[in-house]
């Protein structure tokens, strides 16, 4: 279960979220972010995103 939502219209595909992901669940693929089932919804990526493109799903 992927617990985050990345707003592609906001995302600047910089990869900061990938660098802080503690479980390695995120990947920057060219111009978008993909999350896999290792995502725990910890929200660290959402916190550091420079543009606020990531939301943790409730």
């Amino acid at each position: 279960m992927v617990a985050i939502h990345v707003n592609r219209y906001k995302c600047g595909y910089c990869g900061a979220c990938v660098g802080v992901c503690p479980t390695g669940a995120l990947e920057l693929i060219e111009t978008w972010i993909e999350a896999d089932e290792n995502c725990t919804g910890c929200g660290i990526c959402a916190k550091v995103c420079p543009v606020g493109a990531i939301e943790v799903k409730k």
């Binding site: 990869g15 660098g19 802080v20 992901c21 693929i29 550091v48 995103c49």
Partner: protein, 406 residues
Amino acid sequence: MKDQYDVVVVGAGPGGSIAAKTAAQKGLDVLLIEKRQEIGDPVRCAEGVKKISLRRHIEPDHRWICADVKGSRIFSPNGTKVEMSEAISGGEVGYVLERKVFDRALAYEAAMAGADVMVKTRATGLIIEDGFVRGVNVMHLGDESTIRSKIVIGADGVESKVGRWAGIDTSLHPSDIETCAQFLVTGVDIDQDYCDFYLGNKIAPSGYIWVFPKGKNQANVGIGILGSKSGKHRAITLLSDFIKEQMPDARIIEMVVGGVPVKGTIERTIANGLMLVGDAARQSDPITGGGIINSMDAGKIAGEVAAKAIAAGDVSTKALNDYEKRWRATIGREIDSSLMVKNTFVKFTDEDLNSLAYSLKNVNFTSMRLMDLLYALFKANKKLLWDLRDLFKDVVKNEIDFNYRS
């Protein structure tokens, strides 16, 4: 497409291209892969470098130099200015680059040295056999394939996965990353001779705003804030506020975002058959955020060590430890010092920053070295900067002559 190389370099930024070029010059069979279809784009960088360090790797070329700067000015929250300039002593300072052109020039040099280059080629995993990295799985234009190599060099940036795949924990805590945004602005009256830095916990919590000239009436105006301070305020909104207030006439012609590792040196940057370089190895400077030169220095060492290890037929961590030792003895030492400064800096209130700037009111810097600035600050503010005393132990002992006059 060949499926076997001596070395595969993942990521064609400055670190990856220099590593590929160096290894190819040493006679190795090298492949440099870049996941994007363009090299050098999108930019995630403020683009400032020191001239003297750049020359170690490439001759300056006007095609990728936007501005030639003579000094830096730091502004405390109440506007107190500290100026560092080498213009007086006739020295040379820095360039502001056009990374899109610069990165491609470096990839060109790697190719001219004999390296194969593949763009739109993403590493999707490592081939690991008997505890050794033996190549990469890649996707090129949607097709998956396997490329075997004796050594993999991971230069895959802040979003690096190569290290993690090999069991090296490169993950960053929120306080280990500066989250950044930058606008290329035009239509502003910018002093093209200086790089400016604005400090203050309101405008840039545990970070700063920079204004780097980009030629004519243009500038990179950017912000970095510590990840742990991000959330309620975002880099992008704080930067927009600053521009609205300080540069109401600015026209924004490009937007850049990025994350800069400010963790300091990590425990390990090698595995059997693997070396990490640049942001992937968290080699950016924790206080300046600068990473271009460190990446290039590390890339060069990695290329040299790869050649030696392959010639000796040993690519184990024992052989690659030479890379670890060499980068830690050079850029690693600077990173450690900068980390100490960062850990002190992030605790300062605006009042601290103002009084620090004020204490340098009558100091004329003729050097651009951060250490010179810090030592002058330390001498005038021993109580506030007591945590930094270890930095200056050697300085005092060896009576190193500092390039400033008070």
